[in-house]
Every structure is written in structure tokens, then in C-alpha cells.
Amino acid sequence: MSDKILKKDNLDQLLDKLRQDYQIYAPARQGASVVWEQAGNAEDLLWDFSNTDMSPKQFFFPQTERLMHFTNSYEDNQGMVMQEVPEMQHKQALLNIRPCDAKAFTILDKVFCQDEYPCDTYWEDKREKTLLIGLACKDPCPTCFCTSVNSGPHNQEGLDVLMVDLGDELLLKAITPKAEDIIADISDASEDQIKQAENQKQEAEQAISTGVNTNNIQSKTVLDLYESPIWDRIQEPCINCGTCTFYCPTCHCFDIQDETQSDYGHRIRNWDTCMSWLFTQHTSGHNPRGSKRDRVRQRFMHKFKYMPFKLDGAIGCVGCGRCTQKCPVNIDVREVVNKMNE
């Protein structure tokens, strides 16, 4: 399908059409933060933001998610038997999602749906019911490094539609068949507009001034990296909080808990963090990652060595820079990866 062009003034028509099937969410400003909110009219949409503070992974993988529930009673006939929770009852569209965040979902797909065994149904259900309409990055942050981790400001992977902001107009690229239906009746973009979008892509890519090198990491052995002395210094300032993992669009570890209150009980999963000692604590008392050094090493090894090794080269990082922006002690993922690569 050829690229389409839509005046921002006419965007409400598209939103109204989408609303017939989807709940629409989009980035919105809240003080100095940018958060995901249910979208109102087109005129309220943000066009000049870097990215949302939190990644949108919560739409598929909420911080706390109920998996099953049960009646907490042995007296009841159905007592102590786990019951399914209903699937998501609506379809959702994430509008103006950044390409790096959409790319992150394609990596998480490989984690939650990775082999011949059934997928993680909670992830899969919400993924299937979600439409991703991306907004290409015009003005990358100083902490962005997507171009060196298999992504980019106009990267299309994971998106259904990629929009390029041309000022008063949006250039729309349909990426999946799902999207073609939605934008089919919008008029085609001119050669000139397509060229403009292409130029913008090149400018945005050039504006990304920092990056990481990962070539040598893949050729080094796991043990070489694991036993490298670099971790001694990298781990020093770390306070082992969960900020980097919670903000990361590709961190996906969780902890399952059963909770009860009087005769109600449920099984939930919560975001967990490999930065916490509790993450690997065994009931025996042994902890295979007992030191801060072990835990800091794990996070970077997992993303840049183990994941590529196990998932056909997919790096567990999309270069969004959130961990670096939010870390209370300024551990900069780019510095760490470049040290691993030395």
C-alpha cells in the first residue's frame, strides 16, 4: 500500500473510526512528565515530546496482574480451586507510540511466545487485541541510542502504522494488513511528501549522537564476560533499587504471589527486579546471586549476552535511554555496554 497523507485537522475522523473498535491511549503531559492516558480529541494530542516516562509495556504486562482467583474456603464446593480470569474485554490502540517501544514488544514476544509450547496467554491476549500506531522521532534525546541496538527513530518493527509528523500533516505508512483496512480510504501522499519523510528519517538518525558497540560482546565467551574485572567498578555506585528494570521496556521478570483476604483469594504476578537480592533467594537460604556485583552483572549480561544467544541475536535493549535518565546514581547503560565490548 502506498503511503498516505492526513491533515492533523482531519485526524479526528480517523480517531472516531478507531473508537468504534478500540479504546485509544496516547502520551499526554502531566506537569513535566509524559504519561499514557486515554486519548481525547486530536487537538489534545502531543506532538513535541521525547517519550513517555514509563514505557507502555504495562498495556500488555501490568505491574500487578491478576492471573487466577479462588474462593478461600474449604467449606465451599468451589473452594480452593483456581478460576480463570476473563480475557481483555476490549481492543486497544496505542497512538503515538515511539518506534523503540514498539520494537521492545517484538523482543518480548520472543520471550513470552518462544517455543512450541503455549504462549504466555496473558501477554498474547492483550498483544492480539492491540493496534500500535507509531510516531517517528524527530528530535531524539541525548540519551537515545536506538540506532546502535537494531532499532531507529523510524523503525517499523512491531508497529501497525508508522506516522511521520510533517508539521500540519502526517504521513502514514501501513505496515500490517490490520492497518491497511484502517487507513485505506485516506489519500495517497505525494512524491514530495514521501521525500520529506525520508529526509526526516535521515536527519533523526544523524541526530543520535551516542551509541554502543556490541560486536565483540557476541564473540567473547560467556565466562570471559562473566569473570571480567569490569564488574567490580561498574557495580560500585549501584544501590540495587528497581528503577532501571521497572522503566525498561524490555525487562520482563515477574514474581507470582497468592493473596487472600477473608473468603477471597487470587494469584497475581508483579514486576520483579533482578536488582533485588530476594529475586534469587532460595528457600534453603542459598542465594546464587548473593552480592550486588552478581546482580548488576546479571542485568547487563542478560540483555546483551544471554538474550542474543538464546533469541537469535535479539538484544534485550532498544536504546530508549530511560534507565540512564532515571538511575538515581547515574549508571549509564552505554558506558557499561561499551566496557563489556572493549
Binding site: 513535566a32 541525548p142 544501590i239 493473596e259 538515581p328 558506558e335
Partner: protein, 314 residues
Amino acid sequence: MKEVVEQIRTKAKELLSEGKVDCVLGYKKGTVPMQEQPFCAYTPEEADQLTWSVFCTNNLANFLIKNTGKTAVLAQGCVSRNIVGLIKENQIKRENVYILGIHSPGMVDAKKVQDKFPDKVIQEAYLEGEELVVKGKDFTEHIPHRDVKRNNCYTCTHRNAVIYDEFVGEQGKESGGGNIDKVAYPWSKLDPEQRWEKFQETFKDCIRCYACRNVCPLCYCDVCFVDESNPQWCGKGQEETDIYTFHILRAFHCAGRCTDCGACESACPVGIKMRHLTSMLEADIREKYDYSPGLDLESVSPLSNYSQNDPEIE
């Protein structure tokens, strides 16, 4: 500030080359604007990376806990008070720390600065005299330093280190200018319903990353109560009750020990104002026990001690 940085480096080199300490704990320049990184210099060469600025928002006392060997540490008022507290609570030994006292310029609240430029990306910020120069792609702005200091720095009572082996730079004004007793969060003016509302509003955005706890030099328990599993005191999800339980209990556990260093608020990625709670607790401790934490090595912390004259708390 440049002269102070030079003095820190010179002093660090001297201590390291004479073998008086194993490392000098300070800050090095951060890789993102408005943040410096806690940093240990082990050699005189590494000492050249040490820096000092209005962006040193961590509490270095936190990095001394369970340290072996002898460490020199850069300490402004609050950090030195936490060192005193840690010595009294037997977490560090006085002879293992060499305290380089310093005067605090009043640290900057990066969130306040960002709030002034809501739709802009800040690429650089530095102090020039009394002004903070903030630069981005297409702008350079000067804002008064006093407008963007952390709230705790306005009400600071001890900007100079209270205990030190050597002082680096000049001693300066002790007070941040504000009156801590007047700004303690005005809970007493609210009725119970309003208090609850205000409390919920304060902590509603918490994502339980525990940065506030982990950055705090008071939070050194081997196992925090929220991490206990047998018995499990507190649920682990995003249930409001569990989030509030964590913050209330943590704050109470810090009563009579908190030096108002502000590291928790600086570390919080969502901008929670923990001082709404802690400022009131510390105001109570001052009023009921006439005690401020970390000012001397001798006095006994009120909540570590029972006396028949202890005030009744309503």
C-alpha cells in the same frame, strides 16, 4: 566551586599517596545533566575525576555501610550527621572513616528545573555564581539557584559538616534560610479525613522500586520488612494498602534518625515527596524530646532509649 574541586582532588591525592586511606569516596561527573555519580577514587590518578557541584544529591554515608578498610569520605552537614548516626548505631567504625568536611552549596532539585522547561530537553546545566545556567538545543536560560534548590536544602540547619578530620574549602553559612519547624508538613491543621486524602495523594504514584529505601543511609536492615516472607508483613503488588504500609512503616522506622538529607526525594523516579511524612516526624522528635539526630557522638537517640520521663504521644 572550581577551587573547592581542586582542593578535593589535591587532598584526595595526598591521602591516597601517603596510604592514609584505601579510597576516597566522593562524586565524579555524571553522564546526564544535573546528576553526578558516587565514585571511589583508589589511586592519585583516579582522584582527578573527583568533582563537587550542586548536583551531588546522593548521601555518601550510605556507601560506607559494611565497608571494610579505611575510606575518606566527602561529607557536607547532612552526610556527616548520618555518619555520626551510623557510628552510634554500630554500622561503621569512626577509625575506619576519614571525614573530609565540606560546606553544602544547597543541592539542586532536577525535577524543579525540568518543570521550568516542560517541553524541552535539557542538555547541560551548571552553576555560574548565584545562577543556574540551563542549556538545550535551541535555548540558554539563567535561573536563580535559590529557586531550584531541593526543599530540604532551604530548611537545612547544618550546611557545614558537624564532624570531620579535615575541612575542604571554606566553612559557610549554616542555615539554608528557612525554618524547619514552620515548614514541617502541616498535618496538624488537617482533620483525619483530609490527612488521609493528602497522604494518599502524596504516595499514589509509587512504583515500589525502593529507590528511596536503598538510597537512604538509615535503611541498612539485612532484610527489610517488605522483603520478609515468613511471615509476610506486606503484600507485594500495587495494592494501595501495601504501598501505604511500606511508606508509613519506613518513615516511622526513621523517626529520630532522619537528617533530612533529601536523598530519597532526589532518587524517586516519580517525584514523591517523602518529606511530607518525615518532616513531621522529625518535628515531633524535636518538640517532644528536644533532639536532633546526628549532631554528636554521645547523646542517645530517643527511640533507642526508654526513660520514665518520656513524653506521652497522643
